[in-house]
C-alpha cells in the first residue's frame, strides 16, 4: 500500500438548504470507499428506521439526533478522505440562514468551496449569501456541483441555465477558478465515476476536479509573519519566541522587526520541538532566537519587510453573529487578533452589504448574520495586514465581554468587489 506523503486540501461545502450538500459528500465518501462497513450499516439502519429508503446518504455527515429528525444540517461536520496523493479535510456546512456562523466556521479555513446547486431552481438567496461570504473569506477556487440532474432528464439546457446564473452572479466576486460539473448526488453520476447520462459533458468528475485543484496557495506573500504565542525559556537563561509562521518562510540570518515595539534584530536560531532548523516554512509551529535582547512577549509580532501596519483604528468587514444588533452603543466587546486580545469599540457602522446586488447600503446597525463595513477602535495597538494579503494577520474575532461568546468574524480592509 502506497502511503507516501500527501498534501492537504481543505474544502467546505456551501449552498442553500435542501440542494443536497450532505448527500453529495455522503456519495463522495461512499463511492471512494472512505466509509467503513459498520458506518455504512449504521447509516442504512438509521435511514430505514425513519422510513427514508435504503440509504439516506445525508446521514453520513448529519450525525446529530436533531439533524436526522429534521433532515437538515445544523452544524459543520468534518469528514476526511484520502487519495494516493491528497488528504482532504471536508467541512460539510449547514445551509440555513440561522446557522450562517457555523457555515463561516467551516469556510474560514477552506482553500476551496464546493458549491452545491439544485439544477431546477433559480439561484437562491442562501447560495448568494454563501458565495459572498466565501469570497470575503478569501476562497478563490470554486467547484460548482450542479445537482439533481436526474430530475431534469439530464438536460444540457437546464445545466447551462444554472451555470449562467451562477457565473453572472460570481463575476464580481473574484474567484480565480470556477469548475462546473453536472451531477446527481443521489445516483452518483459524475461524482467519482463519469456518467453515461451526460454525453454532452466532457469535463472532470468531482473527484478528478478535487484531485487536480491547485487551491491552497494563499494569495501573494507579503513578508514573513510570526505572532508570538509563548516565550520559551532555554537552558542557560536564553529565551525563544514560539508561534506559527504565515506569509513567507523565516531563515536563520533574516533581519526581522519586532512589532509594535519596532525593534530590529536578526534571527540566530530556529527550533521546532526542541530541534534546530535552518528554515521555518509557512505553517510551521517554530520558535525563534534573536541576536539582541528583547522584551517581546505574547501578542507581539515578528515580521520581515514589507512590514504590516500598526494601528488602533481598523477599517474592517465583519460578519455579525450576535443575537442583538451590532451598533455604536451596543454591548461591550473584546477583539482577538492573532495572539493579542484587546477591548474594542465600534466607532461607526459604515454600511451593510446587500448580498443580491453586492452593494453597500447605509445602515446604523448590523443584525444577526448580516455582513457590513465598520470602523473600530481598539484600546491596544494592533499590527495588521489587509486580509487579502495575509489571512492570519488580517483576521480577527469579536467576543462578547459578558458571555465570552464569539459574535463576529472580522477581516481588515474590504474586498475589491465592494
Amino acid at each position: 500500500m502506497d502511503l507516501a506523503t500527501k498534501d492537504l486540501l481543505r474544502l467546505a461545502t456551501i449552498g442553500s438548504v435542501d440542494d443536497g450538500k450532505s448527500t453529495l459528500i455522503g456519495r463522495l465518501l461512499v463511492d471512494t470507499r472512505q466509509l467503513f462497513d459498520d458506518q455504512l450499516d449504521a447509516v442504512a439502519a438509521a435511514s430505514e428506521r425513519r422510513g427514508f429508503g435504503d440509504l439516506d446518504l445525508s446521514f453520513v455527515t448529519d450525525g446529530l439526533r436533531a439533524e436526522r429528525e429534521q433532515g437538515i444540517t445544523i452544524d459543520v461536520a468534518y469528514r476526511y478522505a484520502t487519495t494516493p496523493t491528497r488528504k482532504f479535510i471536508i467541512a460539510d456546512c449547514p445551509g440555513h440562514v440561522q446557522y450562517t456562523g457555523n457555515m463561516a466556521t467551516g469556510a474560514s479555513t477552506a482553500d476551496l468551496a464546493l458549491v452545491v446547486l439544485d439544477v431546477a431552481s433559480r439561484l437562491k438567496e442562501q447560495t448568494r449569501r454563501h458565495l459572498c461570504i466565501a469570497a470575503l473569506l478569501g476562497v478563490r477556487s470554486v467547484i460548482v456541483a450542479v445537482n439533481k440532474m436526474d430530475t431534469v432528464g439530464w438536460s444540457e439546457t437546464a445545466f447551462d441555465r444554472a451555470i449562467d446564473q451562477i457565473e453572472l452572479h460570481s463575476r464580481e466576486l473574484g474567484f480565480t477558478s470556477m469548475i462546473m460539473i453536472p451531477v446527481s448526488a443521489l445516483y452518483g453520476d459524475n461524482v467519482v465515476e463519469g456518467s453515461p447520462n451526460t454525453p454532452w459533458y466532457h469535463g472532470p468528475t468531482l473527484l478528478e476536479a478535487l484531485e487536480a485543484s491547485e487551491a491552497g496557495s494563499w494569495e501573494t506573500a507579503q513578508g514573513a509573519r510570526l505572532p508570538i504565542q509563548w516565550v520559551l525559556r532555554q537552558p542557560g537563561g536564553g529565551r525563544t519566541y514560539a508561534g506559527i509562521v504565515s506569509g513567507e518562510a523565516f531563515r536563520v540570518g533574516d533581519r526581522v522587526t519586532l512589532l509594535p515595539a519596532n525593534v530590529e534584530t536578526t534571527i540566530t536560531a530556529i527550533n521546532f520541538g526542541g530541534e534546530a532548523r535552518l528554515e521555518a516554512a509557512v505553517g510551521l509551529a517554530a520558535d525563534l532566537d534573536f541576536a539582541d535582547e528583547t522584551d517581546a512577549g505574547r501578542g507581539d509580532l515578528i515580521a520581515t519587510a514589507p512590514l504590516p501596519t500598526i494601528t488602533r483604528d481598523l477599517q474592517a468587514t465583519v460578519c455579525w453573529f450576535g443575537e442583538q444588533p451590532l451598533s455604536v452603543n451596543g454591548r461591550r466587546l473584546r477583539l482577538k487578533h492573532t495572539t493579542r486580545s484587546t477591548p474594542v469599540r465600534v466607532r461607526e457602522i459604515k454600511g451593510v452589504i446587500d448580498i443580491e446586488s453586492l452593494t453597500v447600503d447605509p445602515a446604523d446597525s448590523l443584525s444577526t448574520n448580516e455582513i457590513g463595513l465598520v470602523s473600530l477602535q481598539t484600546a491596544d495597538p494592533l499590527v495588521v495586514d489587509d486580509y487579502r494579503e495575509d489571512r492570519v494577520t488580517g483576521s480577527f474575532v469579536l467576543i462578547d465581554e459578558v458571555t465570552n461568546a464569539t459574535v463576529a468574524a472580522g477581516m481588515v480592509g474590504h474586498a475589491s468587489f465592494l
Binding site: 492537504l8 467503513f36 449504521a42 436533531a66 509563548w230 520559551l232 535552518l278 483576521s395
Partner: protein, 306 residues
Amino acid sequence: MTTTLPTPHATDHLDVLESHALFILREVAAECERPVLLFSGGKDSTVLLHLAAKAFAPQALPFPVLHIDTGQNFSEVLDFRDRTVKAIGARLIVAKVQDTIDQGRVVDPGPLGSRNRLQTVTLLDAINEHRFDAAFGGARRDEDKARAKERILSFRDAFGQWDPRRQRPELWQLYQGKVNVGEHVRAFPLSDWTELDVWQYIGREKMDLPSIYFAHERDVVLRDGMWLAVSEFVEPASHEVVVRKTIRFRTVGDANCTGAVLSHASTIEAIIDEVAVANVSERGATRGDDKFSETAMEDRKREGYF
C-alpha cells in the same frame, strides 16, 4: 554557519497536522488559567502528550496530566502510563471512578457492568475540584459522527454539558478559550487527524506504546460478537469457550468492554498496513460502549464525557 542541520523539506499532511496541534496546545495554555491534559495511555492521548512535550520544549509541561482511572484498565496500560509520564517529567493526577462510587455519587454497575458512563462524573468532579478551565483531549473527529460535529475548542457549561446546537463560531485559527467561573473548554488538538494519521505519526516519531496494541497470544472469549481478553474483569461464563488467539487491541478502553481484533501485526509498519485496508471502524470493531444506540456518543458528550 553549521551545515549539519536538516535541509528544509516539503511539508506533508503530517507536518501540517503536527504544527496545527502544537499551535492549539500553546494557544490554550496561554489563554486559559488552569489547563489539564487528559491521558489514558491509549495511542491518541499518547500522541497528544508527545505533542505537548514538543510544543513547550525545552521547558517542562505548563500543565498537569489527568487520568480518569475506571479501575478496569489493562495492567500493561497502567505501567505504560506511569513510565511515559515519568519520562516526560509531567505531574500526574489520578481520579478514580471507584472513589466516585464509594462517595455514593454513582452506583457500582458490578463486575460485569460498564463503568464507561460513570467516568463522566469522576471527570467533572476532578475538573471542579482542581478548578480546571481547559482540558485537552485526544478525541478525533473521524471516530464518531457526533465528534465530527465538535469544535476544536468545545465549550462546556457549569454542568459540564456540551450543547451541539449552541457551539461558538470558530473562525480561522483564532481559538478563544475564555470562560466564566465554573465553565470550561475541552480542547482537541487531534481533531483533524484520522486513525491512519495517528499511526503514521507514531511510526515517524518512533513513539513507545502499550504492548497490547501489538499482536500477541492471549486467552479470549467471544462475547456479543467481540473477542474479550480473559482477566479479572472478564471471567468466562460456563457456556463460554476460552480459546488462545493471536490478537491485538485497536483501541484501549476498559478491559471488560474493549474487544480485541485477530491480527498478526506486531510492528507499527504492519499496523499501518492493516489500518489502511480495514473494513470496520476502530470503534465499531472494538468498543462495546458505542453499541448501545445510534446516538450513544452524542448522549454521553452532552453529559460531559471526553
